[in-house]
């Protein structure tokens, strides 16, 4: 089923009786060439590119709950490519380019809105750091602009510029960054994958892996054994639990990150704004809610909910940055489980087990990476070679001494 303006008008006149389900609900077959574990954004994008771009058939996606029930539905919907390091920036810029064409690619309204992101500068040292970051972005083909305080005041006049402790001295702007409708991304990829023959199997939890002589034969699930030529794991948040079934320990801890949304307001915030003196970022959804978040809670957690001290910390950051936020009522808050890796960067790689592939460690940056992560993982599954933008995302980078540590804090996951 394809969407078009003509179709919407036709359905409006015929009582909307012509719309059908967007994807099938197949029973699992006994055997597939490719089994993707995880029916979230990354898993569905992987299946989509594997079937469409790389032309592979006999592909299944296994999801323990319902489609898109994990972090693809729990994030703050920001897309951007404003990274510093050479291992990261080309990958995220590749993702940004895929975002820019996503709606044409999937014929689904993912509401990709390039409303820009501004990282605020509060000190001279921070300006130097952001100038360097902006130049690194431009070198990788992305866009970046350093804004003076006057330019910034014209764009976002409501910030607390003359805060005695954290005065705002400028900002780094990426105009092509913005937001997207997170569920729409999962649904667009799901429908696209289904159209290309991928079986999306929901309520099918993987409970074990059948491995013989260092090669994976298939997976045990709550809906029976499924044989597989290759198995790709894309279950960020639960990576350690799933890979434990294959006897692997990962350079990952699971942590909880909270997010918040206010009541719906008239348009006040033009793009995404990040506070440079604390950890606080905010944007406004198309429904009008202010969507914001901050730090992870900082201790291992699989609970999908956080504690009050971090709520207070995030809201204090919001008040320091834009005091007007104190007039808005908080509508709800929630938590999601992050794969926090040892250097703050992800892993897309083969494993020591033949036929078993891993995609995870996204920390709290997985949403923006969804298209490129899917593309690169599909590339790896189809060709057994890393995609050119994802070559640095190897398991062995820690042992070899090549971590990709944007913040430079070392192997301490709760600090990334």
């Amino acid at each position: 089923m394809r969407f078009s303006g003509f179709r919407v008008i036709k359905e409006a006149f015929t009582g909307h009786k012509g719309w059908g389900p967007l994807w099938r609900d197949p029973a699992p077959k006994p055997e597939y060439d490719f089994v993707i574990i995880g029916g979230g954004g990354h898993g569905l994008a992987t299946a989509y590119y594997l079937a469409k771009t790389f032309g592979r058939s006999r592909v299944a996606v296994l999801e323990k709950g319902w489609l898109g029930s994990g972090n693809i539905g729990r994030n703050t919907t920001i897309i951007r490519s404003n990274y510093l390091l050479p291992g990261n920036e080309p990958f995220y810029e590749f993702s940004m380019k895929l975002w820019e064409n996503l709606e044409q690619e999937t014929n689904f309204n993912s509401m990709v809105s390039q409303r820009g992101i501004i990282n605020l500068i509060h000190t001279d040292a921070q300006r130097d750091a952001y100038r360097r970051r902006g130049n690194a972005m431009i070198l990788a083909g992305a866009d970046a602009e350093l804004l003076s305080p006057d330019e910034l005041r014209k764009k976002v006049p409501f910030l607390n510029y003359d805060n005695a402790r954290f005065p705002i001295k400028g900002g780094l702007l990426q105009k092509r960054a913005g937001t997207a409708r997170h569920d729409g991304v999962a649904w667009g990829y799901a429908r696209g994958a289904d159209t290309h023959g991928v079986d999306i199997i929901q309520n099918c939890e993987v409970t074990g892996m059948r491995i013989k002589s260092g090669k994976i034969l298939g997976v045990e699930t709550t809906r029976g054994y499924i044989a597989a030529g290759k198995v790709g794991v894309a279950v960020a948040g639960n990576s350690s639990r799933v890979m434990h079934m294959a006897g692997m320990r990962l350079p990952i801890e699971s942590h909880v990150l909270q997010a918040f949304v206010s009541e719906g307001l008239k348009p006040v915030i033009p793009g995404v704004i990040t506070f440079g003196a604390g950890h606080f970022y905010v944007s406004q959804s198309d429904k009008g809610g202010l969507v914001f978040g901050g730090d992870i809670d900082g201790y291992n957690s699989y609970a999908q909910r956080g504690n009050l001290p971090v709520v207070e910390d995030v809201l204090e950051g919001g008040m320091a940055l834009m005091p007007m936020i104190g007039r808005a009522r908080l509508l709800r808050s929630w938590g999601g489980i992050m794969d926090m890796s040892m250097d703050g960067s992800p892993i897309i790689d083969r494993t020591s087990i033949d036929g078993l592939y891993f995609n995870g460690g996204w920390c709290y940056g997985g949403f923006k990476a969804t298209p490129a992560s899917g593309y690169a993982f599909a590339h790896l599954l189809a060709t057994d070679r890393s995609h050119e933008t994802a070559r640095a995302y190897r398991f062995d980078r820690f042992a070899r001494g090549y971590p990709i540590d944007e913040k430079g804090v070392g192997a301490q996951p709760n600090l990334h």
Partner: protein, 95 residues
């Protein structure tokens, strides 16, 4: 979360700094032949269990002791805490 400090009673988790899995106390032997691999595993790999987790918390805003806290990572329930020093002393006693 409240942490039952063995000396100070229930303390707010905000007074503590979190380090991670208590297995970080078991530093590998640097003189062993396989030290390079052992240290790679020690520094970078974690069990990361869903459920009971023994972990190191530092009472930075308090008496600056290191605690081993047993906590459920699925419910955030804190089940107990002991001084890391006591644990080390016990481990060093002859069996």
């Amino acid at each position: 979360m409240l942490i039952p400090h063995p000396l100070l009673g229930l303390r707010d988790a905000q007074e503590f700094t979190y380090l991670g899995d208590a297995s970080l106390l078991n530093r590998p032997d640097a003189a062993s032949g396989d030290a390079s691999n052992a240290f790679n595993d020690y520094v970078f790999l974690r069990d990361n269990p869903a459920g009971l987790h023994r972990e190191l918390w530092y009472h930075e805003q308090g008496d600056r002791s290191w605690l081993i806290v047993t906590r459920n990572t699925v419910t955030h329930e804190v089940l107990g805490a002991e001084l890391a020093r006591d644990y080390i002393l016990k481990a060093e006693l002859p069996a």
